[in-house]
């Protein structure tokens, strides 16, 4: 058994990233629950420490290789050939960084708005952080599944305990949708594991060839889990409820990183492990993506609830992501990955912004607002940046991502490209209309006399603004990380069975 704990960072950095939040949880358990300011401080310090610890990933990542980096490998359950196996490549690294950043912002934005069961709240946030980082770092399918499922528990609590009026319904719906998808994937994982000679190693699984029938079967088993998480049409219905009812921090985590896990799943598992099935299923996936783009956009136009509108816009934007990924060409896939990141930044920012104003007015009804720009000018300026980025205006990150996706989409299917381009127009429609109704027009009753954003809220919102322009003006800053990995992945998908060691075992042995 080869065991590696040393990597270019000089220490097991990924383990530290996963377990640091849990250390914070342990510290929180020791704090008296009445001492709320200390609880918040501990959570903030933990999240900032996590972010600082993740920065070396950014600086010492080797962009010239697709190989896994920062690898750690330890035998974990030898009887099942399961390893504690972590590593990052160009596809996953950005999401780890995004997770550590978003956690800080979540702690900041919840500073005053969470007044009940404060201790449990911050424990849940930190456990979610740990699990999500684990998902993006795992190179062992079993380990991946553990993190993937473990994330459900704190997320269920976040929505259900600190959410809006209809929170219980939303939390249960979120949990059950995700769980049904996940257990089907588990069956797929076990089949794959047994077929490949009891192997959970993702890198090795992605270098073998599986019978076509089995690939198709597994593709749908994985689809059940990933499509629910993305969420793709028609299994998206949990998302508007969960996003709307969750507390601000919960919505931000959901939008910024959690739903990225679904698209990440396609990239990490479906495409490289099941290349032939992925190619065969491209028309289906692109159709579902286009439906999500247009349908999600049109539904947005009819929303009266701020958070619900942004939630549906996520359905539309994630449609772009899956469209780009399943275009199966360089532009589409790089655009898709970039757009995952962008959507995390922009929609995370939008939810942070909505949270900031919700704390003041305690209403999510768009009709209750109006004229916010005149009482909160700074806030209005920040929000317009998020709005433009969401629409995809040039100089914002949204433009780069959507442009690449459309380019890739056109190359794969002209019809899909044309149809999804209309999604951008619908997007401009509902976002600008939303901005108009909330920030301009007559000053609403509940809006009059509101104080502008304070320093703490600025600290939560400004990082997103910076990222929007940074990626918008110099996208290579993040895209440079993914070129090699994407190239390698596309080679694998498009060559399919041509390269890879063939397994001779008869499929009937396992599928009887």
């Amino acid at each position: 058994m080869e065991q590696t704990m040393v990597n270019q960072a000089g220490f097991p950095i990924l383990s530290c990233l996963i377990f640091l939040p849990l250390l914070g949880v342990a510290a929180l358990l020791l704090v008296r629950r009445t001492n709320e300011s200390l609880i918040r401080m501990v959570a903030l310090i933990t999240s900032i420490a996590g972010f600082l610890l993740s920065l070396p990933l950014f600086t010492s990542f080797d962009k010239t290789t697709y190989a896994m980096q920062f690898v750690e490998k330890q035998a974990w359950i030898p009887a099942w050939n399961i390893n504690y196996h972590l590593g990052l490549d160009g596809i996953s690294i950005m999401f780890v960084l995004l997770t550590t950043l978003v956690t800080i912002l979540c702690v900041l934005i919840s500073w005053n708005s969470v007044k009940m069961k404060t201790k449990e709240f911050y424990i849940s946030i930190l456990v979610v952080e740990s699990a999500i980082i684990g998902v993006f770092c795992s190179l062992d399918f079993f380990l991946f599944y553990i993190f993937w499922e473990a994330m459900l528990i704190p997320m269920y609590l976040l929505i259900g305990v600190w959410g809006g009026p209809n929170r219980v319904y939303a939390a249960v719906k979120f949990f059950l949708y995700t769980l049904v998808g996940s257990v089907l994937m588990l069956v797929g994982i076990i089949v794959l594991y047994l077929y490949s000679g009891r192997n959970f190693n993702i890198v090795e699984l992605a270098s073998k060839v599986y019978p076509y029938d089995m690939q198709i079967w597994l593709f749908w088993a994985f689809f059940a889990a990933f499509a629910v998480k993305v969420p793709m049409f028609p299994v998206h219905t949990w998302l508007p409820d969960a996003h709307t009812e969750a507390p601000t921090a919960g919505s931000v985590i959901l939008a910024a990183v959690l739903i990225k896990m679904g698209a990440y799943g396609f990239l990490r598992f479906s495409l490289p492990i099941l290349p032939d099935a992925s190619r065969a299923m491209t028309p289906v996936m692109m159709t579902l993506s286009v439906i999500a783009i247009i349908y999600g956009g049109i539904i947005c136009l009819a929303q009266t609830d701020l958070k619900r509108l942004i939630a549906y816009s996520s359905v539309s934007h994630m449609g772009f992501v899956t469209l780009g990924i399943f275009a199966l060409n360089t532009q589409g896939m790089e655009g898709g990955i970039l757009q995952m990141l962008n959507h995390g930044i922009v929609t995370g920012g939008l939810f942070l912004g909505v949270g900031a104003i919700y704390d003041r007015t305690h209403t999510r009804q768009i009709s209750d607002y109006g004229g916010v720009a005149s009482v909160m000018p700074v806030y209005a300026a920040i929000f317009i940046v998020f709005t433009f980025a969401s629409i995809g205006l040039p100089a914002t990150n949204g433009f780069v991502g959507e442009f690449l996706i459309l380019l890739g989409g056109f190359k794969a299917s002209q019809l899909a490209g044309v149809l999804s381009a209309s999604g951008i127009i619908i997007g401009a429609g509902y976002m600008l209309w939303l901005y108009q109704r909330v920030f301009f027009m007559e000053t609403g009753q509940k809006v009059a006399g509101l104080k502008d954003v304070d320093f703490r809220e600025m600290a939560a919102l400004i990082p997103m603004v910076v990222l929007i322009f940074w990626i918008g003006i110099y996208p290579e800053a993040v895209m440079g990380f993914m070129h090699e990995s994407v190239r390698h992945l596309l080679e694998r998908v498009n060559d399919g069975s041509a390269n890879g060691t063939s397994l001779t075992k008869n499929v009937m042995e396992i599928m009887k």
Partner: protein, 475 residues
């Protein structure tokens, strides 16, 4: 013919256990403080655990097979005794039934289970089963002034007696067919082949399946379980949801995989529908329960369905997965019952699901414990419940039962709804009134043990997994 003393080594744990039970029965007459009796039972049982590894071998002309398989199950039974006694001490005095016989009956019942696990002969198996069952009937009716407890006892007894009848009928048929009641000789006789489709053998296997299904509470022979679980004292419910069930699986494995090992194609047709029905009925009916003991009864039925997958798989992995699952189930289920017992106080019954409303507000620790046990019962990582289920599903898929496993995971997802309901009520509702928890050091210890193992097996299952695999290898 000279009298040859059989080798008593392999039955030493059972012998010591019997002495212990008799001693407790006597000690109860002179010791006034019943807590002392309880502590003596725990200490004695812990001593018997130490004897287990040394007591391997076959004795009484093959009537007792003390192998790794039975040793693992005996470990579960003894663990069940220790945990049950720990959660009982305070509870019995609240229910005002603090009598020493309680502990003696638990010990006698456990001796029965131990005999079942190492039975090499159907007669020994029957003896063990009756000893276990009769003691448990009495325990179920232990709160004699409570009509529900009486009802539980009577129902359990009547249906259990039927099950015994079926078992005896099955034994007599197999004796008529093979001329022996020795499990390994039956296996050898049937292994010669030519019995596929033999009506007498099939009827006999059906009778065995019926009898054991009663014991593990598998559908459609589960009717007694909800009433018995609800009416019995909560500590006894915890005891009988783990012990007799594990014992049922021990004999199920022994009889179907050893004696009928060559007939797997025939009996899997009997067991697969039972498993699917058990998971279905257990999980779906649990959704609509209002009493938490009743809900856990249906949950216990459902878990029997999952565990049946391991037996159906019929492989070494399958056997090991059933063993691991029974161990995991012991920890998480007794843990859950421990929290329920904590809610019971002098003037508060605390066994309605709605009684858990708002528990997290004033008793965050108790709520957090219940949360972990509920998620473990659902099978969400990183808890032991997930590892157990994973192993069961894996061995069943490996044996070619992919379709059954897909059904199982869907039902397992459905089960999340009723387990989550408890979590939802504890964390997302406001308390209706002041809940006073009746804690005690013993109960705290039991909860600590169960919690630690639920998390430990969830994160690092290797130790118990390897034990289960090694034990299954001797099977």
């Amino acid at each position: 013919m000279p009298f040859l003393m059989p080798d008593l080594g392999p039955v030493m744990p059972e012998l010591v256990m019997t002495v212990l039970a008799l001693f407790i029965l006597m000690a109860d007459l002179v010791i006034k403080r019943k807590e002392t009796v309880a502590l003596l039972s725990i200490a004695g049982t812990a001593g018997v655990v130490m004897l287990l590894p040394g007591a391997l071998g076959t004795t009484f002309n093959g009537m007792v097979l003390s192998d790794g398989y039975s040793m693992f199950f005996k470990f579960i039974f003894l663990l069940n005794v220790i945990l049950t006694v720990l959660i009982s001490i305070k509870y019995l005095s609240i229910e005002r039934v603090n009598f020493g016989e309680y502990y003696a009956l638990i010990l006698f019942s456990t001796i029965g289970m131990m005999l079942m696990a190492s039975a090499g002969d159907l007669i020994v198996l029957y003896l063990g089963l009756e000893l276990m069952a009769l003691s448990t009937y009495v325990l179920a009716g232990f709160i004699r002034y409570d009509i529900r407890s009486n009802e539980a006892s009577l129902k359990y007894f009547l249906l259990g007696a039927f099950a015994s009848g079926f078992l005896l009928y099955g034994i007599s048929l197999i004796y008529g067919l093979t001329g022996t009641t020795d499990i390994r000789m039956i296996a050898g006789y049937l292994g010669r082949g030519g019995f596929s489709g033999n009506p007498m053998l099939i009827i006999s296997m059906v009778f065995f399946a019926v009898a054991f299904s009663f014991k593990i509470a598998a559908v459609p022979f589960h009717m007694w379980a909800p009433d018995a679980y609800e009416g019995a004292p909560t500590s006894v419910t915890a005891f009988m949801s783990v012990g007799p069930k594990a014992a049922g699986f021990a004999v199920l494995g022994r009889v179907f995989l050893t004696a009928f090992g060559s007939m797997q194609a025939d009996w899997s047709i009997i067991l697969i529908p039972i498993a699917i029905l058990t998971m279905g009925v257990g999980n779906i009916v649990a959704l609509s329960q209002t009493n938490i003991k009743r809900m856990l009864a249906y949950s216990s039925i459902a878990h029997a369905g999952y565990a049946l997958l391991g037996i159906i798989a019929g492989t070494q992995d399958g056997v090991a997965s059933v063993m691991l699952y029974m161990l995991v189930y012991a920890f998480m289920n007794i843990g859950a019952f421990g929290v329920i017992i904590m809610l019971r106080s002098e003037n508060f019954k605390g066994d309605n699901i709605s009684d858990f409303e708002g528990l997290a507000k004033n008793h965050p620790l108790a709520a957090a414990l219940m949360l972990i046990f509920m998620f473990s019962l659902t099978g969400i990582p990183p808890t032991a419940g997930f590892m157990g289920k994973f192993y069961l599903f894996m061995s069943a898929i490996n044996a070619g039962y992919l379709g059954v496993v897909i059904i199982a995971v869907i039902f397992s997802a459905i089960s999340a709804y009723f387990y989550l309901r408890i979590v939802m009520l504890m964390y997302m509702k406001e308390p209706k009134g002041e809940i006073v928890l009746s804690t005690s050091p013993a109960l705290g210890l039991a909860l600590a043990i169960t919690l630690i193992f639920v998390l430990f097996i969830g994160v690092a299952p290797s130790i118990f997994l390897d034990l289960a695999k090694a034990a299954a290898a001797t099977f």
